[in-house]
């Protein structure tokens, strides 16, 4: 990498940070409990819209893992998400009514909150439908992982997005608030992921899974990216570039081993495909606030009309992290 290239990336990073700084004005604090944050706390950042039904389980899941404080941005919800969050004792919530798209799909807002509150903390950035699985997550809390990462001088932890879906029609089993969504969306694609390397940012670009298989069989290049780096020992100089797919400085994107070995990595179980999905897809299509003119949602809307079943004979049913490890979707690396 030439000096000029790395300097350009540096400028780009500065630009995202300045942008985040400007976008802070769009955030209005509704409940600010950030004074509760202690030095070694693990913080969770998330931005959402109309996700109230998912929140009870979401908060419980991450509290159980050992997240100490939640910093959330609510984007103009109409279902009471904001009020629900404001009532939680360990949640600080900001309201943003301006465009999600103009804030680069929420990245600017979260970059700002992270630089403000996340400095020197392990920060987890996930959507309300994403559930982090890491090696030994059934026996060790998240702080065991972050302590180990600290001891190994690792600053970022990769967790690929794994799309979960139910057997039968997506809207067949309604999801109830507080329920574990993996009870319904229990299935996933085990081995149809394609990877290429993004030369500029050094990250891997992973596509595939049921969305490529069912929604983009003719135009696979349009399938959404599944690579994510949600867990980072944050520094106020860092910036997410696009969603949590990649970061700057680019060294943080090197979450994979290039010499044949495996680094430790996790999985984000993505429970987008519940009965709420069809509604959501229709609404997002209207709002046009999603990536690449909501091309993803357009494809969903079309495919969903005919055959909203993602399950196939070769779908795997989720059991635990060891299963994902054996299938080669995640790795223990040298953590034992």
């Amino acid at each position: 990498m030439s000096f000029a290239q790395s300097y350009r990336l540096r400028l780009q990073r500065k630009r995202w940070l300045i942008r985040a700084f400007r976008k802070r004005r769009e955030l209005t604090a509704v409940a600010d409990r950030t004074e509760q944050i202690r030095k070694r706390d693990i913080l969770l950042f998330s931005t959402m819209r109309n996700e109230k039904i998912r929140l009870p389980f979401f908060l419980r899941y991450y509290r159980d893992l050992g997240v100490s404080h939640f910093l959330m941005v609510d984007n103009d919800s109409t279902d009471g998400t904001l009020e629900y969050l404001a009532d939680q004792p360990d949640v600080s919530v900001w309201s943003a009514t301006r465009g999600y798209k103009r804030a680069r799909f929420g990245v600017d807002w979260l970059n700002w909150l992270q630089s403000r509150y996340g400095h020197n903390h392990w920060t987890l950035v996930v959507d309300p439908d994403e559930f982090l699985i890491y090696p030994f997550c059934d026996t060790r809390p998240l702080s065991a992982l972050t302590d180990w990462l600290d001891a190994s001088s690792i600053k970022s932890f990769s967790a690929m997005l794994l799309d979960m879906y139910p057997k039968g029609r997506i809207d067949e089993q309604p999801y109830k608030a507080g329920q574990n969504p993996m009870e319904i969306a229990a299935w996933f694609d085990a081995g149809n992921y394609t990877i290429s390397r993004n030369k500029k940012f050094g990250n891997l670009w992973i596509q595939g899974g049921p969305r490529m298989r069912a929604f983009f069989p003719k135009t696979p290049e349009k399938a959404p990216a599944l690579n994510k780096i949600p867990l980072v020992k944050w520094d106020r100089k860092y910036a997410y570039v696009s969603s949590t797919h990649m970061l700057l400085p680019r060294g943080l994107n090197l979450v994979y081993d290039e010499w044949g070995g495996e680094k430790a990595s996790g999985i984000l179980l993505h429970t987008k495909f519940l009965h709420t999905f069809s509604e959501k897809a229709a609404e997002e299509l209207e709002r046009k606030q999603h990536y690449a003119a909501s091309v993803e949602y357009r494809a969903y809307a079309e495919s969903l009309r005919d055959n909203p079943e993602l399950w196939c004979r070769w779908s795997e049913k989720y059991i635990n992290w060891r299963q994902l490890e054996i299938l080669g979707l995640m790795s223990k690396g040298n953590w034992a």
Partner: protein
């Protein structure tokens, strides 16, 4: 006679306190050294909280940065204090704040009492062990290391490089032989005091002060001078990973640690409450009096290191993306590729399946769709039959398929009509077994009902494509096991090559092939080729076919050879 514990602590003081009390409760005096980095306030509180135990002392504090002299200095002073204050101590055990005794302390005391003259210290010469990480082994003792590795890595590396370049070497004092090993030892009073009271100690100290990671070599080297009996092993179970940092134990290691029968384990995660509860409440775990046996733990950790450094061959995933040439096997299992066979034999795929029991696919790289075995639309791993998805990344398609069908050998057909982007992958993969009947692509043309000009154009194209594939198979980079026959060669005696292929696929069968696949009718094929030639398009890949009479081979069953038995 008892055992004295020298304890070096720097974090998780509450756990250190718990462990110190545990040792003291069993009658072992404890001398604690707290890192100078611990704030004065915290240290005061720590000291106060242990003030009710009379046999716990605190030694003067040093700054203990990893790899530097501070740890040795701290150990020296704490050991001196121990020997001076507690004359009943016969063995001194060096432990850290994150060490956890796994067996009742009395067992350790008895074990050491039964071996009063033995020093337990891992100590080996650098030439003989491959332990060191990062390329500094014997150079630890011959170069100087004034810069911190943690904070000034650049200067550290540059200065090492400079010294190598200049050829700088330090002299080892008094001709001692440097030894190294685990820094957690257990020495007898005799040996330890001999080291600490050595008239040349100043010389040694001055030398080791500039050695890299002296806590792994100072006592290990000097113990060799005085000890009457060295057991070169550490009583502390402590495993290191490939970067030289210790593996950490968590709650879920409880059973493993129980069964290891080691006296002390390091390093325990401070929040592993279950481990501390289980091992510090003096269990009645029966007096076993067995030798430590950390075999199982060793295996688990060495597997972990292997996973980190070599990974799983043929797997490509979010945290394993090898640079070209570093895949350590570009696919995970053997598979077989057949070109031309399905053209020459009508029922080749079912026949191969019957003969070998393997999964036989059609043209996986076919233009229209992926022809999975049995016409399935999706296959193991939920791999789709969409040609677009496959062509988006043919290599990932192949490696995914082989990975997802681990445990079952895959065979598939290939041909010049298929997507050719994969040919170098195939030819460079040692797992590929490729069998080609060159020129067999002409058979579908021969049977087709197209205009001859179209046939001629297509034949020219296919011939070009196939010859590229053959070039790839014959290139010096090729690692696949490939066998190539011209069609003419093959049909002369088809059973022999077929037999050879089946054998190479590793099917366990001593019998000769009992059944041959059915060959297509070749009547008129020679004339067809001659027509192509007459049109100026020379088909050469199929070998020499006489234009007439028809070279239809006879697939007569050979008479069984008579077996002459003695």
């Amino acid at each position: 006679m008892t055992v004295g514990i020298v304890m070096l602590v720097h974090t998780a003081l509450n756990r250190a306190e718990q462990v110190a009390r545990h040792w003291a409760a069993a009658g072992c005096p404890v001398v604690i050294h707290a890192d100078d980095n611990v704030s004065r306030k915290t240290f005061k509180a720590f000291k106060k909280s242990l003030s009710d135990v009379p046999i716990i002392r605190f030694s003067p504090r040093h700054r203990c940065e990893w790899g530097t002299w501070g740890i040795v200095a701290a150990t020296q002073e704490a050991s001196e204090l121990m020997l001076k204050e507690f004359p009943a101590v016969r063995h001194v055990y060096l432990a850290s704040g994150s060490c956890l005794p796994l067996r009742p302390v009395q067992e350790l005391i008895d074990y050491l009492a039964a071996r009063p003259k033995t020093d337990f210290i891992e100590s080996a010469t650098t030439a003989d062990v491959p332990w060191t990480v990062g390329g500094l082994d014997s150079e630890r003792f011959t170069l100087r290391f004034p810069f911190s590795w943690k904070n000034h890595r650049f200067l550290f590396d540059r200065y090492v490089a400079l010294q190598r370049r200049v050829g700088f070497r330090r002299r080892v004092p008094n001709g001692i032989t440097p030894h190294m090993g685990s820094q957690w030892w257990c020495l007898t009073r005799q040996t330890l005091s001999a080291i600490l009271e050595d008239p040349d100690r100043l010389t040694y100290d001055r030398y080791f002060r500039r050695v890299w990671i002296p806590d792994e070599s100072y006592f290990q080297t000097l113990a060799r001078l005085y000890s009457q009996h060295i057991e070169s092993r550490s009583l502390t179970l402590s495993k290191f990973d490939f970067q030289g940092k210790p593996h950490i134990f968590y709650d879920d290691h409880l059973q493993l640690l129980r069964r290891s029968d080691c006296f002390v384990a390091r390093k325990i995660w401070p929040n592993a409450g279950r481990l501390y509860r289980a091992f510090l409440t003096d269990s009645e775990s029966a007096l076993k009096r067995t030798e430590p046996n950390p075999g199982k733990i060793d295996r688990i950790f060495s597997r972990a290191v292997d996973r980190r450094t070599r990974g799983r061959p043929g797997l490509y995933m979010q945290s394993r993306w090898p640079n070209p040439g570093w895949e350590n096997g570009s696919t995970c299992a053997k598979y077989a590729v057949f070109q031309g066979f399905a053209n020459l034999f009508e029922d080749f795929e079912p026949w191969l399946n019957r003969m070998t029991g393997m999964r036989v696919h059609g043209h996986l790289f076919g233009q229209e769709r992926v022809e999975f075995a049995g016409g399935q639309e999706v296959i193991n791993g939920a791999i789709s039959d969409s040609a677009e998805i496959r062509d988006y990344n043919p290599r990932a398609f192949l490696t995914n398929l082989i990975w997802s069908t681990r445990g079952e050998r895959q065979c598939f057909q290939f041909g010049p009509r298929d997507n050719q982007d994969i040919i170098w992958e195939l030819s460079k993969d040692p797992n590929a077994q490729i069998a080609v009947i060159s020129g067999a692509w002409a058979l579908p043309l021969f049977f087709s009902n197209n205009n001859f000009s179209e046939i001629r154009a297509e034949a020219a194209l296919l011939q070009k494509v196939e010859s590229k594939f053959l070039d790839a198979l014959r290139s010096p980079y090729a690692k696949a096991r490939s066998r190539i026959w011209t069609m003419a060669e093959f049909i002369e005696a088809p059973m022999e090559p077929l037999q050879m292929i089946i054998e190479e696929l590793g099917v366990q069968s001593n019998r000769r092939l009992s059944e041959a696949p059915k060959m297509v009718d070749l009547a008129g094929f020679g004339q067809f080729l001659q027509n192509l030639k007459n049109q100026g398009m020379h088909p050469y890949l199929m070998g020499d076919f006489p234009s007439s009479p028809d070279p239809m081979p006879r697939l007569v069953k050979k008479p069984k050879p008579y077996l002459v038995q003695k």
